[in-house]
């Protein structure tokens, strides 16, 4: 078994190794910004390539597992990749490429010379590590890696608003980490193992499942803070609009999604003995998250703050899929994840171009962009309408599948909430459209006329992917359905990690 897997196993390490080596190269080329930029682009492209290859390998050969350093499973460090992990790694690669390209044009010299690129790749390493970790303690370690990198990215530049946002972000996330670590400690105390596959086996045999339920709540709170769910989300809209747009985009696309990924992992693999309690709880949280997020968004008049509240709202949809705990619902959630990561990052990148053109994020002061930049208006509409769920964009199919699953399972309340929130999402997207694009510009303020090509290329790229997913939703749905199948039947994952045992 070991022998067969070794060749393929390279693909599971590469998504962690490539960002690390890129970061190393960028650190060594500290004083040569041009070299750093080139390395960064190459590293991101390689990460995307490795992610795609990993996805392909998992698709054909099933779940992959790798025992780091050849130490056998429950004792050593395990990396494991199922389809869901592989999809997430591909998304991370795609965002890495687009955000790096965008950074080339938009990042100021000061941030670049203080290590923007190395830190960006360390962040990517942490994100990919978290997606691939098969061990709950290592999941914690990867979370720390990506958090520390994100602290630096958030504060790099040291603007007043950045520091204010960072204080809330750092405090809340450190608390979440402490809770997470406490949960890991208790889990180790009751089960005597940290390998997630082994934990799944041990927890199923537990005599007192109430204790496990209690621990699961610790994890729900810890990951809940990181995923920004109701009522623990307020750090997100307070901080995401403060750093440069490229950083906002990668944060919005990846960081909270790592929290959601972790919730999916532990609540499909480990804590599935009392679904009636835990998953109902998740469903309730999902509902509140959707509603509060979108209501917050409706009230905002700052472009990026509005988008930040939307992130929260969309997290609710993802959790709804998990809370319903049914293969169809989870497939919809995986599909939704792909769509929301792409749409959200695109919108943030668009907000950056808007800022480039008119020098503000304030919707009241913006205007007339439809006349002055019709192409950009189109690029805004694609992700915005997709997020609101207008066919034939992927958001429509994602919501259709999610609500369909909800109705099928008899969860009428949450399905109704999802539909209502969808309308409010459309409303707030139209608000941006009206304010920034449609109405005439209130003050003919300073405005750059030309848009740098490098700012537009990544947006076009993402918009094309979104359109592609919309028009060819079938294959991605098949993929999502298989990913959900693997999630809802942990036996395959356990088998892949622990072997025949």
């Amino acid at each position: 078994m070991m022998q067969v897997n070794t060749v393929m196993n390279i693909w599971i390490v590469l998504p962690i190794l490539i960002p690390l080596l890129t970061a190393v190269g960028a650190v060594l080329a500290w004083n040569w910004r041009r070299v750093q930029r080139v390395l960064s682009v190459i590293g991101s492209a390689a990460l995307l390539g490795a992610g795609l290859k990993l996805l392909l390998t998992v698709w054909t050969d099933g779940i992959l597992a790798l025992q780091i350093g050849s130490w056998p499973a429950p004792f050593g460090i395990t990396l494991a990749a199922d389809l869901f992990s592989a999809i997430m790694v591909v998304l991370a690669g795609l965002l890495a490429v687009t955000v790096t390209l965008y950074s080339l044009a938009s990042m100021d010299m000061e941030r670049e010379s203080f290590g923007y690129y190395p830190i960006l790749h360390i962040l990517l390493m942490g994100v990919c590590g978290a997606f691939l970790s098969g061990d709950i303690f290592n999941l914690y370690v990867w979370f720390e890696v990506l958090l520390i990198a994100s602290f630096v990215l958030l504060t790099l530049g040291g603007e007043r608003a950045q520091l204010e946002g960072a204080i809330k972000y750092v405090t809340l996330n450190l608390m979440a980490s402490a809770l997470f670590l406490a949960g890991v400690g208790v889990l180790y105390g009751i089960a005597g193992t940290l390998n997630m596959a082994d934990l799944a086996v041990q927890l199923a045999k537990m005599e007192h499942p109430e204790i496990v339920t209690a621990v699961s709540m610790l994890f729900l709170i810890a990951f809940g803070i990181k995923a920004a769910v109701f009522p623990l989300f307020f750090w997100l809209p307070a901080s995401y609009h403060t750093p440069p747009v490229a950083v906002s985009a990668i944060f919005s696309g990846l960081l909270t999604k790592v929290g959601v990924y972790a919730l999916f992992r532990v609540f499909t693999l480990l804590f599935v003995h009392n679904i009636r309690y835990t998953h109902t709880m998740i469903l309730i949280i999902a509902g509140f998250t959707m509603v509060t997020g979108v209501l917050g968004a409706v009230a905002q008049t700052e472009f990026r703050r509005l988008l930040s509240f939307h992130i929260v709202s969309q997290i609710g949809y993802l959790l709804m899929g998990l809370g319903l705990y049914h293969p169809a619902a989870m497939a919809a959630a995986v599909f939704f994840m792909v769509h929301v990561v792409l749409a959200k990052s695109t919108l943030f990148l668009v907000s950056g171009v808007v800022h480039w053109l008119q020098g503000t994020y304030d919707l009241k002061k913006l205007g007339g962009l439809y006349a002055s930049a019709p192409g950009l208006a189109l690029l805004f509409l694609i992700p915005a309408l997709s997020l609101a769920g207008i066919p034939p964009l992927p958001g429509f199919f994602a919501k259709l599948a999610l609500v369909g699953a909800g109705l099928q399972l008899g969860q009428y309340v949450i399905s109704a909430v999802a539909l209502a929130v969808s309308i409010l999402t459309l409303f707030s997207m139209i608000k941006i459209w009206n304010e920034a694009f449609w109405k005439p510009q209130p003050l003919a303020a300073t405005c750059a006329s030309a848009q740098p090509v490098l700012l537009i290329i990544p947006i076009v790229l993402l918009a094309l992917v979104i359109l592609g997913i919309g028009f060819f939703a079938g294959p991605l749905f098949t993929l999502a359905a298989r990913a959900a199948e693997q999630l809802s039947d942990p036996a395959g994952y356990i088998q892949a990690v622990l072997g025949g045992a």
């Binding site: 196993n9 390279i10 190794l17 970061a23 190393v24 790798l66 050849s70």
Partner: protein
């Protein structure tokens, strides 16, 4: 303010600290020690120079920018794992030289990894300390 007593003492303590750090690094595989503490001892040595004289002396004594050490150290650690990939084994599987080498003892990729940790710790600690002292 430069203290004559401290700066004279440092002249003797400094080489001892460096030697001790190498001792810790090499002994670390199976006994207390290792790259992390070894690196801290080196960082302590250079901080002592910086305290006794000034930051610039410490930086000049060091000869390289600590930031470079972070990069080289990370690279060494990554390469120690890559060797296994090339040999067709799972990432980070240890490879040892069969015969013991005098003074160093057992030599293999874990030593390279530890050396990487050693450099990273020196680099990170001194980057922080030098930056703070410069201000």
């Amino acid at each position: 303010m430069v203290s004559l007593i401290l700066s004279t003492a440092v002249r003797y303590i400094f080489p001892l600290q460096l030697l001790f750090s190498i001792f810790l690094l090499l002994r670390g595989h199976n006994e207390p020690g290792g790259g992390f503490v070894g690196g801290l001892v080196v960082a302590a040595a250079f901080s002592l120079v910086a305290l006794a004289n000034n930051v610039w002396t410490a930086q000049r004594t060091m000869g390289v920018n600590p930031r470079v050490l972070i990069g080289v150290g990370l690279l060494a650690a990554a390469v120690s794992g890559l060797q296994a990939l090339i040999a067709g084994q799972p990432f980070m599987t240890a490879a040892w030289i069969a015969r013991d080498i005098p003074v160093l003892g057992k030599v293999g990729t874990p030593l390279l990894f530890d050396f990487g940790v050693y450099l990273v710790v020196i680099g990170v600690t001194l980057t922080i300390i030098f930056t703070l002292m410069e201000e």
